[in-house]
Structures are given as structure tokens and as C-alpha cells.
């Protein structure tokens, strides 16, 4: 059982389906056709490039090159988190909070997986590093973006309640406690749902890929379990870090609520 290689023609057929969808959008004036086509183009270009880069890295497996690619992925993820905020922090914090949290969680979880659990030789081998990091970044990115968005939006809307508590001598941590908790919960719900539905409703992407590539299904299942557990912990720790750093940043050294440190972003 080997892998059936896809021809350009196969991909063109799939692309025609998206094109048909874009035509439908135009016909019904959904106004989403343009964005759909741009996103499709991005997928094709980005994934092809990644394939080429990985192909190169498989041959030229220098740790510095791998580190550079990992850093690039982190920066793009950090930008994405920022772009998804309705109220984002001004200045370097806008991108900083999300990027730092993802760095702390995704990188350390990937590192643990590579060195302690999988024990590839060498531990930084491209075949494991980049796919693992990619899966983790992609998922923690969503969790962190949702949690931060929830945090800043609620702080903005509940200014009176937060300040009302500060006026009565509550500390900043008491004043933001419920908002923090709800932000963290909202960031974790997607991965909890994904774990609950895995294998029953949905066949996760990585397992599908491994099976398509000819791996024994049970091996694929074990890898998928590993990935799910890593993603859950990475998302959880990443969202906690983001909510902690973000909520700290909402207050200054005199524990004043500083909503002037947020700005609304037009989408």
C-alpha cells in the first residue's frame, strides 16, 4: 500500500469546485467571493512553498535553518492573533502578548514531545519538528486569539464593574477575576470539543494524512492521540499565559484600569 501521487490535474479539479463556489457568491452577491479566492490562492502558494522548503530542509538539515523556519512560523502566528482582536493592545504589546504566549507554550510543548516522548535522532530532525510545531502553533493560535479577544472585549464592556470594585479597595486581580476566568474558558472550549468529537464525529487531519500515506491505522491513531494531548496542553498553557499577561497589562502600577492601552481595530 503506497501513496498515490496527486497530479496537477487532480488539484485543478478541486480548484474548479472552489471557483464554482466563487461564481455562486458573485451570483448571490454574498460579497465573499474575493476573499474566498484570495484565501484559496494563499493556501496553494503557502503550502507549495512549505513543501518546497521542507524538501530542501530534509536534505540540508541544519539546526539553524530549522530554527529560522520555526521563528518565521511563530511571527506569522503572532501577527494572526493580533489581527483577530477587536480591541488590541497598542504598541509592541499588540503582537507581543500573543507571540510571547505562543512561544512559551508551543515551543516548550514541542520540545518536550521531541526530546522526551518521541526521541527522534537527532531530536531536531525536520520530519518531526516542523509538523509538530505547525500543528501546535495552528491550534494554540486559535485558542489564544479567542481568549485574548474575550478578555479585552469584556474588560472594555465591563469598565464600570471593574472600576466599581477598585473603588471599594479590591485588588486588580479580584476586580478582573471573573473576566479572566471566562476568557480562559472560551479559549479552551474548541479543543475540548475537538477532543470529545475526535474519532466519533470527525477524523482528525493528521490521522487522515497518515492513513492516506499508508501507515497502519493503529499507529496513526496513537500519533493522533499524542498530538491531541499536546495541543490541549499547549493551548491551555498558552491561553493562560496570554490571559495573565494581557490582564496584567490592562492595569498600571497603581492598579488603575487602563483601557487607553487598547485600541479598536477595523476589520
Amino acid at each position: 500500500m503506497g501513496l498515490i501521487s496527486l497530479t496537477p490535474w487532480d488539484l485543478t479539479l478541486a480548484a474548479l469546485l472552489v471557483l464554482a463556489l466563487a461564481m455562486l457568491s458573485l451570483k448571490l452577491s454574498l460579497g465573499i467571493g474575493r476573499r474566498l479566492l484570495i484565501a484559496t490562492l494563499r493556501t496553494v502558494v503557502q503550502l507549495s512553498l512549505l513543501g518546497l522548503v521542507l524538501k530542501f530542509l530534509f536534505v540540508q538539515s541544519h539546526p539553524l535553518l530549522i530554527a529560522a523556519l520555526a521563528l518565521f512560523m511563530l511571527m506569522v502566528a503572532g501577527y494572526e492573533v493580533m489581527a483577530r482582536q477587536q480591541r488590541r493592545f497598542i504598541g509592541v504589546w499588540g503582537m507581543g502578548v500573543g507571540t510571547l504566549s505562543m512561544f512559551i507554550s508551543s515551543f516548550s510543548v514541542t520540545l518536550i514531545a521531541l526530546t522526551v516522548i518521541i526521541q527522534a535522532q537527532p531530536w531536531y530532525s525536520v520530519q518531526y519538528t516542523i509538523p509538530l510545531l505547525g500543528m501546535l502553533l495552528g491550534n494554540t493560535m486559535s485558542g489564544i486569539a479567542i481568549a485574548l479577544d474575550n478578555l479585552t472585549l469584556n474588560a472594555w464592556q465591563q469598565q464600570r464593574e471593574i472600576e466599581g470594585r477598585l473603588m471599594l479597595g479590591h485588588t486588580w486581580e479580584q476586580a478582573i477575576r471573573e473576566i479572566r476566568r471566562s476568557a480562559l474558558r472560551s479559549g479552551l472550549i474548541p479543543i475540548i470539543n475537538a477532543m470529545a468529537a475526535a474519532g466519533v464525529v470527525s477524523l482528525p487531519g493528521m490521522m487522515t494524512g497518515q492513513i492516506l500515506a499508508g501507515s497502519p491505522p493503529f499507529e496513526a491513531a496513537k500519533y493522533q492521540i499524542l498530538i491531541m494531548l499536546l495541543i490541549a496542553s499547549g493551548t491551555g498553557f498558552g491561553a493562560s499565559a496570554a490571559v495573565w499577561i494581557g490582564s496584567r497589562r490592562l492595569f498600571d502600577e497603581r492598579e488603575r484600569l487602563r483601557l487607553d492601552r487598547l485600541k479598536s481595530s477595523k476589520r
Binding site: 464593574e161 472600576e163 473603588m167 471599594l168 497603581r254 492598579e255 488603575r256
Partner: protein, 199 residues
């Protein structure tokens, strides 16, 4: 030694000024809307960045942590905030005697916040801020939503607190008659400056 002392204190709407309130003294404040009365009270409670220095009973603002300062120099805002369902959850303790101070029934602690009238909110918010026993009380229109009887009750209660606890009071009020009733000294904000209303 004084209840509250401000030195070269300034906000974005107010040029720097000096002011001091003796323990138990009440000073009222008025001025056109938008002149920065509420902003001034917020700055004194250290909720907004500001210029100059503030002392409470001889202790510098910066020498105390912000929560401790705000318990000693407590602000009652014009619109009170309620974050839990039950009234009693907003108090460290709330007994029938306290509620009786403003003629609220003994079971008010179990009331739902969403069902409070604006007058009940205002009276409960006053009891709440008094319950943390501040040295200085900053009041922003504390009787705006109250009827005549309740205005009288609130004024009497605050007068009693000044006398018994030595609480200094800085009171924003739109009502000239009320300013005459409750204070010996009244200030006005006029073109970014604090001036005396009467001599």
C-alpha cells in the same frame, strides 16, 4: 495632620491647586457639567493618572498600595456598579442594623440587583462604601435619584459619620440649597480653576 491634603494636584481638566480637608470637615464642589468634577474625584481616589501629591491623615498616596489608599479615600460614583446577582454579595458584611440606617428592610441583602430601583441602588451603594470605613469620602451626586425623605436621611447619615468617625467628605452637588445645608465651605470649578463659591 488633616483628613485629606492635596498639593499641586492637577488633572487634564484642572490646573494644579492646593486643598486640605480637616477630619470631619465637609467641602462641597460644583461646576458646569464637563468641567471635570467627577474626573477630579477619580484622580483623588487614584483611579486616573494625575499630577501632584495627595495625603490621607499624613500618609502619602504613593506610600500606600492603591487598594489600601482607595479603602481610606473611598469614592462613591454617580452610577454605582453591581457585579453579582445578590445585593449581599457586594458587602463584606451587611446586617439589619446597617440597612436600617437608610430605612431599607432587613431582607434587602437577599434582593436581586437587577430588581433594584435607582433610589435603592443609590442608598445601598452609600451603605456599601461606608461599610469599608474610609477616612475620606468622595461623593459624586449621592442624592441625585432620591426623593425628599431619603435625601434628608442620607444627609443626616453622612453628618453623623463625620461627627462620630471623623470622616472628611468631599461632596459634588448640583443643588445650591444642599451645599448650604451640608457644608461650611463650597468650591466651584471655573475655567480650569477651583474657586470659593461663598465667603
Amino acid at each position: 495632620m488633616s483628613g485629606l491634603a492635596l498639593k499641586q494636584f492637577g488633572t487634564p481638566l484642572l490646573d494644579p491647586f492646593d486643598l486640605s480637608l480637616a477630619p470631619g470637615e465637609c467641602v462641597t464642589l460644583s461646576g458646569p457639567s464637563g468641567s471635570g468634577k467627577s474626573r477630579l474625584l477619580r484622580a483623588i481616589a487614584d483611579l486616573d493618572p494625575h499630577q501632584g501629591e495627595a495625603w490621607c491623615d499624613g500618609t502619602r498616596q504613593q506610600a500606600l498600595s492603591a487598594p489600601v489608599w482607595r479603602r481610606r479615600v473611598a469614592l462613591l460614583p454617580a452610577e454605582s456598579a453591581w457585579w453579582s446577582e445578590r445585593v449581599g454579595d457586594h458587602f463584606e458584611q451587611l446586617d439589619a442594623d446597617t440597612l436600617d440606617l437608610l430605612k431599607l428592610p432587613a431582607d434587602a441583602a437577599d434582593w436581586q440587583v437587577t430588581r433594584l430601583s435607582s433610589g435603592e441602588r443609590q442608598r445601598l451603594a452609600l451603605l456599601r462604601v461606608l461599610s469599608i470605613e474610609p477616612d475620606v469620602l468622595l461623593l459624586d451626586e449621592p442624592t441625585a435619584n432620591l426623593d425628599h425623605t431619603n435625601i434628608e436621611r442620607v444627609e443626616t447619615l453622612i453628618a453623623r459619620w463625620r461627627k462620630e468617625q471623623g470622616t472628611a467628605v468631599f461632596w459634588v452637588s448640583h443643588d445650591p440649597a444642599q451645599r448650604q445645608r451640608v457644608s461650611e465651605r463650597s468650591l466651584r470649578i471655573e475655567s480650569r480653576r477651583l474657586v470659593s463659591e461663598w465667603d
